[in-house]
């Protein structure tokens, strides 16, 4: 006995209930249940169930038409007019289209899957591209007259370290009337909430004029006043929309309330518009604080009014608004004029000689990765376009195959008097239904791909994808792409198969057509060409990732862990930080499996890098200073990195005086031994003795060769508020991470710590872009291979079926099996060879766009190209084999008797 309670099958009863008009639902359902019950008593449950199912299926079209309003109440079915008639025809044709689709489940499913993958990939691409590249920062007024100003060497257009406050003021005064300049310093502060770990918020320290210059209107409150940029001014803050909602529960009276960031209370004076996240795209800023309170709270010894801190980095960049009717180029000229004037005022300043002002567009990605983002988006976009083309070709192919298979039915319909318009309408509706189905599945693909992308960083420069919003826009794009593809693909089929005159249709209806798919081979050739390009691109990226994983960094990267610490201004004065770090180093050193522990200012493989002038003693500061990477660190850090010592001895314990150079810098500064000689690291003439020279290591990026690098003591120079602890372990450091976190918490439970984990993770962050490209490329290439193989297989099978009779005749006339095999394979192989050759030529012309993303492999790498061609040939041969064998199995007697 079945465990189902008495009553009609539940699914079918539910289906019936949703089909019925709500006003009739209870009554009609009750009556059908009565009938079911009567049948069950008379014939048994099995018969009653099947009759009920049959009833629901029979009723469905009738009830659907009823629900769609096709049959106005009281009107006769033939009496509908106007909109009702069109609606009726659309409904009938939609139902017919749906039937046509379900009659070929395999082809339809394939089409939907191809559409879904292509539309989902395109939607994801548009989402990512929009997120990182396109469009300007929201809410910025007249982005066209906004500029970013960076100060750096002539070959460092995107440097972010030398834009000081005096420089900003000089610039604003000298070019007054032309521009208005604000300084911007992206920063992070932590928000401590009761009972939870500190949360990092990203924000910007800005000159008071920031909001005015950007022209961002605040929905609540105001921007900053000039006096709020002066040291000693009260702490004020403009919060982002998210902070307003999360920290203040969207309190409408938030103005004047207080928020504690990095231990200091800030008074809220404004709330930014919901989508405004700073000037950069993608922006992450969630708060803005004016100059003085911002730097003060970072424990920095910033003094904006000081006369001699032109060299002290304060702003990362300036943002300038061109005032009035300024011609392009005016700003650049004004900037150069300012620099020349400053150089006259400060003749001894090597900084001014070595740097220039660089002008960039005001909004969009930060200049530092504008080019790299453009390349990334371009490569991904190219792959997506190839995939779309491939999908289109494949869909056209499938649509043509469908049209061929149905040409007989269409001819019959046409001969019986169906109007061409109606047949075309049905074809278009079919494409729309398929497109819609593909688009719906495609939004699922979009969601999956975005989940995969979320949290990844593209390049080490800070484009994070964690704020990807799958709102209505990307879904709309996906649907539009899906529908457009389906319609485009259906178009040739509509034109060809539906251009039937009645007499021709009558003739065609008399015979079953199995036409030889001549044009289909051309489509297969195109598919193979596109696939070749994708396979080679994916191959190059895969080799790149392999090479990057094997690159020798020069440090024991797999036995190092790191964690970033940010002692707060609230809990630690500048003087208390050193004892804290020493205590932390000591505690971590005692953990099991730890060999060495040390702290550094800017962690290797992090985004922030510092380079300051250095020269050998006795040289000319203005001419001879070089700019190596600057690592301020404790002695333990050098021990943790375990760099081989070329010369001298590494400092130990309380290292404060003297510097360590890497071999590249030592060779740049000195001929012969460097240890014992002295270097100058600032214009004030202070000299530092070289204690040791260590071997070069790739500490900035695994992709770039080791740069000249100088290591100085963490305790020698301006106070530091954020540092990274490095731990070298006997074994891979994964299991150590929780112990490390506990040990640090043991010293200070409130100490904000970030990113504890193996150093390999930091390296991997830098390689995300290559991995994403390799991953996306492989996925696309695999998909392309499957599509191309399916296309080839289908076309050859069709060709063999179409020529069964001819094969029969050939066999009867004594054709050898080998000859027959050759005859079939010739068509497949020629499609592959022609397609792959075109693909190879195409690939040779496009792989150079990958060049900047390749590592250790040339864009025209012979092995990859040959490998790609072999993969295509192998897959093509496999796809051709079954149809060829089928031709061999043709029974000549059967073949001749057929028809």
């Amino acid at each position: 006995m079945s465990g189902r309670p008495a009553g009609p099958p539940r699914f079918w009863a539910w289906l019936l209930s949703i089909l019925l008009d709500p006003s009739e639902r209870d009554t009609a359902l009750g009556e059908f249940e009565d009938i079911y019950e009567a049948r069950r008593r008379r014939y048994g449950a099995g018969k009653a169930d099947s009759e009920f199912r049959r009833d629901v299926l029979r009723l469905a079209p009738f009830l659907m038409r009823d629900r769609l309003g096709v049959r106005a109440s009281g009107a006769r079915p033939m009496d509908v007019r106007g909109g009702g008639r069109v609606m009726g025809m659309m409904t009938t044709e939609s139902v017919a289209s749906w039937r046509a689709i379900t009659r070929m489940p395999l082809t339809s499913t394939l089409m939907v899957m191809v559409l879904a993958l292509a539309a989902g990939a395109a939607g994801t691409f548009l989402l990512v591209a929009d997120h990182v590249y396109f469009g300007s920062a929201d809410h910025v007024r007249d982005a066209g007259t906004l500029r970013r100003i960076h100060v750096g060497g002539p070959d460092e257009p995107d440097a972010m370290f030398y834009f000081s406050e005096p420089l900003r003021r000089d610039l604003a005064e000298r070019v007054a009337g032309v521009v208005d300049v604000a300084g911007v310093f992206p920063t992070r502060m932590h928000l401590v909430r009761e009972g939870s770990e500190p949360v990092w918020l990203e924000g910007e320290i800005v000159s008071p004029g920031y909001f005015d210059i950007l022209g961002v209107g605040l929905p609540q409150g105001r921007g900053f006043l000039a006096e709020e940029g002066v040291p000693g001014a009260p702490y004020v803050i403009v919060i982002g929309d998210r902070v307003w909602r999360r920290a203040f529960g969207a309190d409408p009276d938030v103005l004047g309330r207080s928020i504690r960031l990095s231990g200091r209370p800030f008074t809220v004076v404004g709330v930014a518009p919901p989508d405004f996240r700073g000037l950069e795209r993608p922006g992450h800023a969630e708060f803005w604080v004016p100059t003085a309170s911002g730097f003060d709270s970072r424990n920095s010894n910033f003094d904006a009014s000081g006369p001699d801190n032109r060299l002290t980095r304060i702003w990362q960049y300036g943002v300038a608004r061109l005032v009035g009717d300024v011609e392009s180029g005016t700003l650049s000229a004004a900037l150069e004029e300012t620099r020349a004037a400053l150089e006259v005022d400060h003749p001894d300043d090597p900084f001014l000689r070595q740097t220039v002002f660089h002008e960039h567009a005001g909004t969009g990605p930060a200049p530092g990765f504008r080019r790299s983002v453009r390349t990334f988006v371009g490569i991904l976009g190219g792959a997506v376009i190839l995939l779309l083309l491939l999908a289109l070709v494949n869909l056209a192919h499938l649509a043509a195959a469908r049209a061929d298979r149905r040409s007989h039915g269409l001819a019959v319909a046409r001969a019986l008097g169906a109007s061409l318009g109606r047949l075309r309408l049905r074809a278009v509706l079919e494409a729309l239904v398929l497109g819609l189905a593909g688009a719906l599945v495609g939004t699922g693909v979009l969601r999956l791909l975005t989940w995969r992308l979320e949290g990844s960083r593209i390049t080490g420069l800070g484009v994070r994808l964690d704020a990807l919003q799958v709102g209505s826009e990307p879904v709309l794009w996906t649907v539009v792409v899906g529908l457009a593809l389906a319609l485009l693909a259906a178009f040739p089929g509509v034109l060809r198969s539906y251009r039937l005159s009645r007499p021709r249709a009558a003739l065609a209806a008399g015979t079953r057509s199995t036409g030889d798919p001549g044009g289909a081979f051309a489509l297969v050739g195109v598919q193979i060409a596109l696939t070749t390009v994708l396979v080679i691109g994916a191959g190059l990226m895969a080799r790149t990732v392999g090479n990057l994983d094997r690159v020798e960094l020069g440090i024991p990267v797999d036995r190092l862990a790191s964690v970033t610490l940010s002692p707060t201004a609230e809990n630690y004065t500048a003087e208390e930080i050193r004892p804290l770090i020493e205590r932390l180093e000591f505690v971590v050193d005692t953990l099991p499996g730890v060999l060495a522990t040390g702290a550094t200012w800017l962690a290797p493989y992090d985004q922030a890098r510092a380079a300051f002038p250095v020269m050998a003693e006795g040289r000319n500061w203005a001419d001879d200073a070089v700019r190596p990477r600057f690592d301020r660190a404790t002695a333990g850090y050098l021990a943790a990195l375990d760099l081989p010592v070329v010369e001298g001895r590494l400092p130990r314990g309380d290292w404060e005086i003297g510097v360590v150079l890497n071999r590249a810098l030592a060779e740049l500064l000195f001929d012969g031994p460097a240890v014992g000689r002295r270097v100058q690291t600032s214009s004030d003439g202070t000299l530092h003795e070289v204690l040791a020279v260590v071997e070069n290591a790739r500490l900035s990026d695994p992709r770039t060769p080791a740069e000249p690098r100088i290591f100085t003591s963490l305790w020698n120079g301006f106070p530091i508020t954020s540092m990274t602890l490095f731990v070298r372990t006997t074994d891979p450091p994964g299991p150590l991470t929780p112990l490390l976190r506990d040990a640090l918490r043991g010293v200070d439970p409130g100490l904000p710590i970030t990113d504890p984990g193996p150093l390999r993770d930091r390296v991997d962050v830098l390689l995300t872009e290559q991995r994403l490209l390799a991953e996306a490329g492989s996925m696309f290439a695999l998909l392309a291979l499957v599509l191309a193989a399916a296309g080839l297989y289908g076309t050859l099978t069709q060709a063999v079926t179409a020529r069964t009779r001819e094969i029969g005749i050939r066999t009867t006339l004594g054709a050898s099996p080998a000859g027959l095999l050759r005859w079939v394979l010739r068509r497949g192989v020629s499609a592959i060879i022609i397609g792959a050759s075109v693909g190879l030529v195409l690939a040779a012309n496009v792989t150079d766009v990958l060049e900047s993303r390749l590592f250790g492999v040339h864009p025209l790498d012979g092995a990859t190209f040959i490998g790609g061609a072999i993969v295509l040939l192998a897959v093509g041969a496999l796809a051709s084999l079954t149809p060829a064998l089928r031709a061999l199995r043709v029974d000549p007697v059967e073949a001749l008797r057929a028809d």
Partner: protein, 109 residues
């Protein structure tokens, strides 16, 4: 506007309905038809036929609980309109006229 000819199935539905009046709703109509035709009658066909007949003004319907049990679930009761009765008569006349004289040949008494 009314039809001038009834299909066989509609003819059956109308006759079954008249037999059941005033207790004619879909479930007993189906049973009545099955009882007289000795085969399973699709309830969906009866449902659709009743709706169409109503649209054509040949039957009318009202929703109400059964007279025997005012608290029970509502049902849609059908009754034949004058136009329906007229069409039935007309259909019968055509059948009878066509049959006339054929009885002995077809072995019908």
């Amino acid at each position: 506007m009314t039809k001038d000819i009834l299909g066989e199935f509609e003819h059956h539905v109308l006759l079954a309905m008249i037999r059941l009046e005033p207790e004619a709703y879909s479930s007993p109509i189906v049973e009545e038809m099955e009882a007289h035709t000795d085969r399973i009658v699709a309830a969906s066909s009866v449902y659709i036929a009743l709706r169409r007949l109503e649209e054509q003004g040949l039957v009318r319907s009202e929703k109400r609980p059964p007279p025997s049990d005012p608290g029970a679930r509502e049902r849609r009761y059908f009754s034949v309109t004058e136009a329906g009765v007229e069409l039935l008569r007309e259909s019968r006349r055509r059948y009878v006229s066509l049959w006339r004289g054929l009885e002995p040949r077809l072995g019908v008494e």
